[in-house]
């Protein structure tokens, strides 16, 4: 990254002096960087997938993969899980995004903020919290249900240790992605089209059906894809919920293959079908989006007018808040309960209140402070360096700046197909040998985190670029600016809020990241997520609750500050470029 970083400002300076377009070398640098980050570890994975333990070429790993039930079952479970999560997320997030963006639903801003807040929660923390709520016997909700209905002690309303429970728990922390994509797309949609529609006599619903939904559809598809891939790559939640239920998903299966004695060749083979599946999905998305022009945001546009919901306003708000109870209100209530209660399955009260967990976490647990430091250092570095990289790639691809830009787009999205845990192993294989022996340092985690976060950052910025019409840049270039100058003076200000959002996304993403870190950490480079996972495996839920709450508070502070800085910048630049 250091290379790319140094390159941009220098070339920008050069441009102003010499008016030479340096996007060619920039592309070369980015490609080289991505090669190191992605191609190298994936190359090792492919080598391993087709090799025996002794390094002989073989297809045996794939025969095992598709015939041994202990591999076929996780594969089927994973597909079911990903499809269900994706469907559930769209079902909930699309109407909610529309309500928040395009209607006069009360508390719309609050709902948006809360959705962002639920994104701050690492999914595996959510899974632990949902264990506290919906474990069949000790779960607080089940206890409440038995108390109210007088049901016998072995009957349960919810059982989180099931496939349905897992789908639910993952969807809780995946739907925000879909919501944000949909709501942002609806925000950017020009009001004129809808106005025109109503002027031509269409009612509210006809306009929604004929204008709003078709325009939002590509984003929804993108959201469905993101949700699918999130569920596919999720490691922490299945490790916490599926293993007690007695089934594996692909990620937990792969993880179990790295237990002693490690079988990286089988793990590598297991990940290749995922890669192909994802490539196919990405291509079909491109095919759907590619045929239509979606550059709807020119230099001028009208603010969309909110649709009046009338009597349904409060019902809409209640729906949104009910949905938010799932990732947010209920889990945090459970976490707070556990953090300060002597036994997590008992409700907090004067006689069960204790500060023991807080004292233990901060004064006795020797890993807490180093893990906090490592995590925040890595999150800041990844968000900054990864954001710049994603911006660069998104720009080159969106503007088709140079020959070969498609390769960049493919490379930048390809980590989506790689379960974090497999990426972790790929990096492990690639960087435990000379010339770059990075294992045991924070650098390998930095590379891992940038790689893991790159696809989403790139997609987010890419879709932002899609909605900024190139005509503005073209005008700038006609007036003599180089490409990079145009990028800086025209595009960057327009993308400011997307860039800040991306920074926050990456920051939060790093803090949530567990699956690559769980392979790459050493005792000196432990991060918070790994610490929590370790605590989970030994059942120390009190310390998990304290650490999770601490982490969320600190993350929220960072995000608020980032948005303040962004907000101040925004105030200096006219928001309507064309006006």
């Amino acid at each position: 990254m250091a290379v790319a970083d140094a390159k941009i400002p220098r070339s920008a300076r050069d441009d102003r002096r010499r008016l030479i377009d340096l996007s060619g070398p920039a592309l070369a640098a980015v490609v080289a960087l991505l090669a190191v980050m992605i191609v190298l570890p994936m190359g090792w994975l492919v080598v391993y997938a087709f090799a025996t333990k002794d390094g002989q070429a073989t297809l045996g790993n794939f025969v095992t993969l598709f015939t041994d039930p202990s591999f076929v079952d996780p594969l089927l479970a994973t597909l079911l899980l990903s499809v269900s999560v994706s469907g559930l997320c769209c079902l909930v997030a699309a109407p909610m995004g529309w309500l928040a963006a395009r209607t006069d639903m009360p508390l719309a801003r609050t709902v948006r903020t809360l959705v962002m807040a639920s994104l701050v929660t690492p999914p595996f923390v959510g899974a632990v919290a949902w264990e506290m709520l919906a474990a069949p016997n000790s779960g607080l909700l089940n206890q409440l249900w038995r108390l109210v209905t007088g049901a016998p002690s072995d009957e349960a309303l919810f059982d989180i240790y099931t496939m349905q429970g897992l789908i639910f728990a993952i969807a809780c922390y995946t739907f925000p992605y879909v919501f944000i994509l949909v709501a942002n797309a609806l925000d950017r949609m020009p009001g004129e089209l809808e106005d025109a529609s109503s002027m031509l006599g269409a009612g509210t619903w006809a306009t929604a059906r004929r204008i709003t939904i078709p325009l939002a559809l590509p984003t929804l598809l993108a959201g469905a894809l993101v949700a699918f891939l999130q569920a596919l790559n999720q490691f922490g939640s299945p490790a916490i919920l599926a293993i007690p239920a007695g089934f594996h998903t692909l990620t937990t299966k792969i993880w179990s293959l790295f237990q002693f004695p490690p079988k990286p060749e089988l793990a590598a083979a297991t990940s290749l079908p995922l890669l192909l599946l994802t490539v196919a999905l990405l291509r079909s998305q491109a095919a759907i989006l590619g045929r239509r022009g979606y550059a709807v945001l020119g230099g001028k546009y009208g603010a969309p007018r909110p649709i009046r919901l009338g009597a349904w306003r409060w019902a809409a708000a209640a729906f949104a808040l009910l949905v938010l109870a799932m990732p947010l209100f209920l889990p945090y209530a459970a976490l707070i309960n556990t953090a300060f209660s002597r036994i997590s399955s008992q409700l907090l009260g004067p006689e069960t209140f204790t500060l023991h967990n807080v004292v233990f976490t901060f004064w006795q647990l020797s890993s807490t402070l180093p893990a906090l430091q490592n995590t925040f250092l890595l999150a800041t570095a990844t968000a900054t360096l990864g954001g710049v990289l994603a911006l660069l790639i998104a720009y080159i691809v969106a503007r088709q700046a140079v020959v070969g830009h498609r390769i960049l787009g493919f490379l930048a999205t390809s980590p989506l197909a790689i379960p974090g845990i497999v990426l972790g192993v790929g990096l492990f294989l690639a960087y435990t040998r000379p010339p770059l022996t990075l294992y045991g340092t924070l650098w390998i985690l930095l590379i891992a985190f940038i790689t893991v976060e790159l696809p989403q950052a790139y997609q987010q910025l890419g879709s932002a670029f899609h909605s900024v019409h190139p005509e503005l840049e073209e005008a700038s270039r006609m007036l003599g600016a180089t490409r990079l100058r145009a990028l800086k003076d025209i595009t960057a200000p327009l993308l400011r809020s997307a860039a800040i959002a991306t920074w926050c996304f990456i920051f939060v993403g790093v803090i949530r990241e567990l699956s690559a870190a769980v392979i790459l950490f050493t005792s000196e480079t432990k991060v918070l997520s790994v610490l929590i996972f370790d605590l989970k495996e030994s059942g120390d839920v009190g310390a998990i609750a304290v650490l999770s709450l601490t982490m969320v508070i600190l993350t929220t502070v960072v995000i608020v500050i980032a948005n303040r800085i962004g907000g101040a910048y925004e105030a200096r630049v006219p928001t309507r470029v064309g006006a």
Partner: protein, 357 residues
């Protein structure tokens, strides 16, 4: 290889002896004999203080591990003890991974799977060091003849139940009782792929009860968790009424606090788990490692393990925990670490066949 031998030479303190063993090591991996016992000298303390820290990998319950660490820090101020707590099998995998990449973070390691020490010893990953207490007091069965490790802790893996959910007269008395359909969906169990306690107990139970017992047990809708420290907690929380396996020491502590649980020492015998400790050959803080190792085997430290952690000890000068059944009154199953060392993968595969995870 050369570096490891060099380091070991330094640690063993006897150049000639190790020159010989170094030359021999191309053919045999085991060292020849235990070095002489060493006491805690002012020089050792001084050297350890210069290093200022020690990193201890252990699989003992985290809260207890941190208490031991704090006990050491209180005894020897100026030396920070950093605890790396994870399941024994995961620590084993991690140490292997770190050593393969020449990353040496671990000073002292304690594992609840004694087989690990056999493997580490074979691979010359341990440094010989015999604390005075080990040489003088520990029974032969609990120390390595070559001085590479000794049993730092002993625990059992009994059955236990939540007394709010199971009446004493209905409670299971044996492993065989757990196959009763009435316990279906009511049991929690840890995993041999993660926990050394469970790896060890799985070998003993599969030998004495047969794999068919596991096969039947797997049809009882078991809740599968990872660490042997978790079943006691899940049972106490009431998530499941009975734990099939798990560390006895946590149960002893729970009983001490009058938590609603009861321990069952099964009639077939209770799996016995000795957890050895040793110093890594490439320990980054070799003196602090020796000091920690020496201290942790003293009667004083072992009694601390018993009193605050509910563990058992091989040190004859310690007393059983006040709230625990006397060790001599419990029928225990025989440990076979050498078998575990050779068959761990088979055991895990067989287990996974029945329990799916």
């Amino acid at each position: 290889m050369t570096r490891k031998l060099t380091r070991r030479r330094v640690l063993a303190g006897s150049t000639t002896a190790l020159m010989a063993s170094g030359m021999a090591s191309g053919f045999v991996t085991a060292a020849k004999a235990a070095p002489p016992a060493e006491s805690i000298t002012p020089q050792l303390i001084e050297a350890a203080k210069k290093e200022g820290k020690v990193t201890w990998y252990s699989s003992v319950d985290l809260a207890l591990a941190e208490k031991v660490a704090k006990g050491f820090e209180a005894r020897y101020p100026g030396i920070a003890c950093k605890v790396e707590r994870s399941g024994a099998e995961r620590n084993f995998q991690r140490i292997g991974q770190e050593y393969a990449s020449k990353i040496y973070n671990c000073d002292v390691v304690n594992s609840s799977d004694a087989a690990h020490f056999i493997i580490w010893k074979r691979q010359s990953m341990l440094a010989a060091y015999v604390p005075e207490d080990v040489a003088r007091d520990y029974p032969e069965a609990h120390k390595d003849p070559d001085g590479m490790f000794a049993s730092w802790r002993i625990t059992l893996s009994p059955i236990a139940y939540n007394t709010k959910l199971v009446k004493a007269e209905e409670a299971p008395k044996s492993f065989a009782d757990l196959l009763d359909p009435k316990w279906s969906g009511k049991m929690v169990k840890a995993h041999p792929g993660y926990s050394g306690v469970v790896m060890t107990s799985t070998q003993q139970l599969s030998r004495d009860l047969g794999w068919s017992w596991f096969e039947k047990l797997s049809k009882q809708k078991i809740m599968q968790v990872q660490s042997a420290t978790e079943p006691p907690k899940k049972m106490l929380a009431g998530e499941r009424a009975i734990m099939v396996d798990g560390g006895e020491y946590l149960l002893i502590l729970m009983k001490e606090k009058n938590d609603p649980i009861e321990i069952v020492y099964p009639t077939e015998g209770t799996p016995l788990i000795s957890g050895p400790s040793g110093i890594m050959a490439n320990a980054p803080n070799p003196n602090a490692a020796r000091l920690f190792q020496a201290w942790s085997f003293t009667a004083e430290a072992q009694q601390l393990n018993i009193d605050v952690a509910g563990l058992r000890s091989a040190h004859p000068k310690t007393r059983d925990h006040a709230g625990a059944r006397k060790f001599s009154d419990i029928k225990v199953l025989r440990e076979e670490p050498a078998v575990v060392a050779d068959k761990a993968d088979e055991i895990k595969a067989q287990y996974t066949k029945y329990f799916k995870v």
